[in-house]
């Protein structure tokens, strides 16, 4: 995940500013949606699941 972020944005500034840059990157890259719910994706939530989902 860190590599994925570093390939898309160069983090600068204070820790809070860097967190904001990551939040903006995620907002640009990912829609909010409920298709996993409607398609009944019942895979348990794990760290691997979250990384795979992204």
């Amino acid at each position: 995940m860190l590599q994925w972020i570093s390939e898309r944005v160069t983090l600068t500034g204070t820790p809070l500013e860097q967190i904001s840059q990551v939040q903006k990157l995620f907002a640009e890259q990912f829609e909010f949606g409920n298709l996993d719910v409607l398609l009944a994706n019942e895979e348990p939530i794990t760290e691997r699941y979250l990384v795979h989902t992204l």
Partner: protein, 162 residues
């Protein structure tokens, strides 16, 4: 979401819900913060749902979005929340399609009835006449993987709706 203590202040780092993306850490009992989605704040207040409230300003004033306890939770708890989202009759997310995204100048959302865009105070709604129009808007605005998942969902609906 995460909580971060930084220089003696607690910050909420929220990855967002729907179009409500704040896109910056929000200080507990600090100044409100503004993003294209609106203006938000985090306050100390004890309710039956938690000891902090995350609020968004609306025409009628500050409106509660959610409350939380500042407690760490484990993967099992997260999975329980997922089960609630999937199966609870009270869940808003297991009834019909919702796709939403923040854009450079506003927000858009797509449900099974319409495409809606809010941009710099202007609003636009395009009602869908059929699934083809819905899929066309998803293809235009969402990521290819979201479009493919929407096609699968619509295909599952076809026997009952078409």
């Amino acid at each position: 979401m995460n909580l971060l203590e930084y220089e003696d202040t607690l910050y909420l780092i929220d990855s967002g819900f729907g179009n409500n993306l704040v896109m910056q850490p929000v200080a507990l009992d600090g100044e409100p913060v503004t993003s294209p989605a609106g203006t938000f704040r985090l306050r100390s207040e004890t309710t039956e749902k938690g000891t902090m409230v995350f609020e968004q300003i609306k025409d009628t004033g500050w409106e509660l979005r959610y409350a939380l306890h500042p407690d760490a939770i484990d993967w099992e708890h997260l999975d329980h929340v997922k089960q609630q989202i999937h199966h609870s009759p009270e869940s808003s997310f297991n009834k019909e399609l919702l796709i939403a995204k923040l854009t450079d100048d506003g927000t858009y959302s797509i449900n099974e009835e319409r495409y809606y865009r809010k941009c710099n105070g202007d609003e636009e709604t395009l009602p869908f006449q059929d699934h083809g129009e819905l899929l066309d808007q998803v293809r235009r605005h969402a990521a290819p993987a979201v479009y493919e998942a929407t096609v699968n969902y619509i295909n599952e609906q076809k026997p009952s709706n078409d």
